[in-house]
């Protein structure tokens, strides 16, 4: 069957099997290997991408189900070559080690900040509770998301200063 969808802002159309999982469509068909997979039962969350702006586990969504919808992956997080503050936060606060869960964690973090620009540590923990990290112990991930939130708050404060040019942080469509 044929499926068309928007991936990171680009329209793609491919011939696929009806059973093809979205994660395999992204990785094996489109070559977007930034999205990983770690289990078969939607427990680990390494495969999280956005479907119409909401994080979903792409190992448990058929590529066909995403037809006509918008998908965003870690490759689409940076805008115009500029890292999203979430990506910077993860680097600044050591929010990653092996890097395997990181793309999924960042997609969830970005979605959280879009809805709640000032999440508490507990709210961050809740938001990533369906995603497993074996390396970091989570505390630095929480700090990373807080870093991005604080950074964006600074940017907004700057934007409110009339003398300053408008701020943009990118990444949040």
């Amino acid at each position: 069957m044929q499926v068309s969808m928007t991936v990171n802002g680009e329209e793609v159309t491919r011939e696929i099997e009806g059973r093809l999982l979205l994660v395999h469509f992204l990785r094996d068909v489109l070559g977007l290997t930034g999205t990983h997979w770690g289990c078969d039962t939607s427990n680990c969350g390494t495969c999280v991408v956005w479907l119409d702006g909401r994080p979903v586990k792409s190992c448990t969504v058929l590529a066909a189900m995403a037809g006509g919808h918008e998908v965003r992956t870690v490759e689409g997080l940076a805008q115009n070559g500029e890292l999203d503050p979430v990506q910077r936060g993860f680097m600044e606060c050591h929010g990653l080690q092996c890097g395997f869960c990181t793309p999924g964690m960042m997609m969830t973090a970005r979605a959280l900040l879009n809805e709640n620009p000032d999440p508490s540590p507990d709210e961050i923990r809740e938001a990533i509770s369906g995603q497993i990290c074996r390396c970091t112990g989570y505390a630095t991930i929480v700090r990373s998301v807080r870093w991005a939130a604080a950074y964006e708050a600074d940017q907004r404060a700057d934007a409110d200063q009339p003398a300053e040019p408008a701020a943009t942080t990118g990444g949040a469509p």
Binding site: G38, T46, T102, P165
Partner: protein, 797 residues
């Protein structure tokens, strides 16, 4: 438009972006990871690549009657179907394990554990390969399995390893350490003897990336390239050469980015060999990636020790001796990855951080119808089990003596002046200063206040527990005269080349699975050469481009390879001194090193930098007599001893009296790993290990039913901790450098995995003290805690 500049939000710890050497510095590998541009094994795509799937046994013990692959072979997308019979013709049906046992690559005679490899299919895509497995018809003659480790040596037990000539039982090995008679003597004179049965259940490292490989055999060149999830690429290459008979120089093992290892990726698994065979058979590149169930049911588990701990002491709390008997479940094959002379790994450090008069251990290891493994999950070669045993039994003694567990530990610590300290089981602890570490943890935790709070809560019927553990690890295997794996010595090579412009490349024999080697090793070299770590490129994980060494596990990278990196940089520095002496026209002895440059003694204005020297060393100009040019060196570092990091952990838990749920409220970890290279990375290693500890203590177990069915075969059943179960870690440190390590550093990667489980269990047991509980085995799930509260604590197996 404001760009995302260098400014950082207030309130966050600043990272030094331009350190020369040690210090908090952002990781060099992160820019690719945060962009989704890591390169893991499953990301490798080669033209014409085929996909391999493995058929696994549905039962634990069965004689193989027949396999019919006709229908699978007829599948239009299938390129090959291979069984054990096919492998026998190639002499590849069995392979050596890392413990001098053998393991079946594919079953030829008998299935020995559920999930064992029976056949494989190579097909055009992964979906078709999986489909074709359904078309293979296997007939099994099911046998009684040996599941209960305690019954494995009974006369009536079926013999699992009838492949071994003359084998008539399930005995794997016996091992002892210490002095049985001396220990008996101190137990005889002791005022108090406490004994406790303690089980460390089977758990699994479960890295987020499962195991897999891409094998590409070029029949024209006779050359095999293998991208593989391996923590030890060089050791694997040698073993492939031995197993498959391929010339070693024609094998290239590449370990690209690895999504976590924790010891799971040390052994060679049948799947890797299958991928190689698949590529040889089809003449195409072949990819094999485990699914999660395959990872959990067939690859290296950890622990599975049934222990009895005994401790002898005087009435006033002087510990005299510790004795232990262990029954070890090794599964169907002895696949333990540990130095050959240490069949029980480094379990011999069960004497802990205490100055004892005597100690003794006797261990019996057996085969069962379960997956092989044993040494994995950040265990530092079984130190996890040893530390859990001693820290649990010391707490049992404290309860018996009605002594505060911290007071008991302080009273018995090895004193700083006793180092180097030889334990009663023969380990030479290099350095330690335990009391300040313990006191620091108590200060951070507010120990006295916590005890007061606990007393108030107990009076109200609330269940609060405070658990303490203090560990000493032995990491950095190791000295070649004592330690080898299958005859390969555990030294590490390192090469360093400084380019003409003063930028450098360092090539390591170890391999990162997330530990940040590209950063840490650049810092080690940067510190020694006085150049920014940003100017040092780290090459690792590729046997064609790195010197020989045994890989990353057992917290050995910094103790062994880190020593190599420092020494190779010093060797380059010595060469630079010679070049500088020519540049400055003075004797090399008259030069003073000032982190990055040499100057004539007494005249700093004469300084020539490493960059100047590197250009000179590669330039056309004159060099001192005998100096041929270039600025590079290579060494192999054979460490004189292991390093012995230590730490003090304090855990605070609350237990819901109605539901028996345990909440880890606080966790304080004070670690001493000697010289600290990158504190940010060290903290990350500690955090990860503490989380492992919460998992093991509270939820993780690979259990089996009586038929040998694995009950932990998916992440629905094998529970790993999420952000909701762990607290915001509170960490601190002390620094007691290793006296023998070139920069005084000790390993740290596994400290927290080793040290945290006893702290958590001690805390839960402390919370349950009002019910008279003295011990409860992991995992402390609500149901098992509730059993303990009612005086019905049971072992998990």
């Amino acid at each position: 438009m404001t760009t995302v500049g260098d400014r950082k939000p207030a309130g966050f710890e600043d990272n030094d972006q331009h350190p020369v050497g040690h210090g908090r510095m952002l990781r060099k590998e992160d820019p690719r990871f945060v962009r989704g541009r890591g390169n893991y094994v499953d990301d490798v795509q080669l033209p014409g690549m085929l996909h391999l799937a493995i058929l696994r046994a549905p039962v634990a013990h069965a004689r193989l009657v027949s396999i019919d692959t006709t229908a699978a072979e007829a599948h239009p997308k299938v390129k090959a179907v291979v069984t054990g019979a096919t492998l026998e013709t190639l002499n590849l049906a069995w392979m050596p394990t890392l413990s001098n046992d053998v393991q079946a690559v594919l079953v030829t005679d008998k299935v020995r554990f559920q999930g064992q490899e029976v056949a494989f299919v190579v097909a055009e895509d992964r979906y078709a390969a999986r489909d074709a497995l359904e078309l293979i018809d296997v007939e099994y003659d099911v046998l009684d399995p040996v599941i209960d480790v305690r019954r494995a040596l009974e006369d009536a037990a079926p013999v699992i390893r009838d492949d071994l000539e003359g084998k008539t039982d399930n005995h794997c090995f016996d091992w002892e350490t210490g002095d049985a008679a001396a220990t008996e003597a101190v137990f005889a004179k002791a005022d108090v003897v406490v004994s406790q049965d303690i089980v460390y259940p089977r758990v699994h490292p479960a890295p987020m990336e499962t195991c897999g490989a891409v094998a590409d055999f070029d029949p024209v060149e006779g050359r095999l390239t293998l991208w593989s999830t391996t923590q030890a690429p060089h050791a694997h290459r040698t073993l492939y050469a031995i197993v498959a008979g391929l010339p070693e120089h024609k094998i290239r093992v590449i370990s690209p980015d690895i999504g976590g290892g924790f010891g799971n990726k040390v052994p060679i698994y049948p799947g890797y060999v299958c991928a190689v065979v698949g590529s040889i058979v089809t003449g195409k590149p072949v990819k094999w990636m485990e699914d999660r169930s395959e990872n959990l049911v067939s690859t290296g588990f950890a622990r599975d020790y049934v222990m009895r701990g005994e401790i002898a002491a005087t009435r006033d709390g002087r510990i005299l001796g510790i004795r232990t008997h262990v029954l070890a479940d090794h599964g169907a094959f002895n696949g333990t990855a540990a130095p050959v002379k240490y069949p029980a790994g480094f379990f011999g450090v069960f004497t802990g951080s205490y100055d004892l008069e005597a100690a003794y251990c006797h261990m019996t290891a057996v085969y069962t119808n379960k997956a092989p493994g044993g040494v994995a999950y950040a265990c530092s070669f079984r130190i996890t089990e040893a530390v859990y045993l001693v820290e649990r039994i010391v707490d049992c003694l404290a309860a018996e003596l009605a002594m505060d567990p911290v007071e008991l530990r302080l009273k018995n610590f090895i004193k700083p002046e006793q180092f180097p300290y030889t334990t009663k089981t023969g380990w030479v602890y290099d350095s330690g200063n335990y009391e300040p570490t313990m006191r620091k943890a108590m200060d951070l935790a507010g120990y006295e206040d916590l005890r007061r709070e606990q007393a108030e809560k107990r009076a109200r019927g609330e269940l609060m527990g405070i658990g303490v553990s203090f560990f000493t690890e032995a990491v950095g295997a190791g000295p070649r005269k004592h330690m080898d794996i299958l005859g390969l010595g555990m030294a590490d090579g390192c090469e360093l080349r400084v380019h003409p412009t003063g930028k450098a490349v360092v090539r390591l024999s170890v391999q990162s699975q997330g530990q940040g080697h590209e950063t840490t090793f650049a810092q080690i070299v940067g510190e020694e050469l006085g150049i920014p770590p940003a100017d040092v490129d780290v090459v690792h994980g590729d046997t064609d481009n790195t010197p020989f060494g045994l890989g990353t596990y057992g917290s050995r990278s910094t103790p062994v390879s880190g020593g190599a990196a420092a020494l190779v940089a010093r060797k380059v520095r010595d060469k630079a001194r010679i070049v500088a002496s020519g540049m400055l026209e003075v004797s090399a002895d008259d030069l003073v090193w000032d982190k990055g440059s040499f100057h004539v003694a007494g005249d700093p204005s004469t300084a020539v930098t490493i960059q100047d020297i590197a250009m000179r060393a590669h330039g056309a100009g004159d060099l001192p007599e005998g100096y041929e040019g270039a600025l590079e060196a290579q060494i192999t570092y054979n460490p004189p001893n292991l390093t012995y990091p230590h730490g003090a952990y304090i855990c605070v838990v609350d237990v819901d009296p109605g539901t028996a749920q345990v909440k880890v409220r606080r966790f304080v970890a004070v670690d001493d790993c000697g010289t600290r290279i990158n504190p940010m990375i060290i903290e990350g290693q500690i955090h990860g290990g503490l989380t492992d500890g919460v998992g093991m203590a509270l939820m993780e177990i690979v259990a089996f039913d009586e038929d040998g069915n694995c009950l932990g075969g998916s992440l629905m059943d094998y529970l790993l901790p999420t952000a909701m179960e762990v607290p915001d870690w509170e960490t601190g440190f002390t620094v007691t450098p290793s006296p023998h390590h070139p920069i005084g550093a000790k390993g740290v990667g596994e400290s927290a995995t080793v040290g945290s489980p006893p702290a958590i269990v001690n805390a839960v047991v402390d919370a349950l003290a009002p019910f008279g509980v003295r011990h409860a085995d992991m995992p402390l799930t609500p149901s098992r805690v509730w059993d303990a509260m009612r005086g019905q604590a049971r072992p998990p197996i």
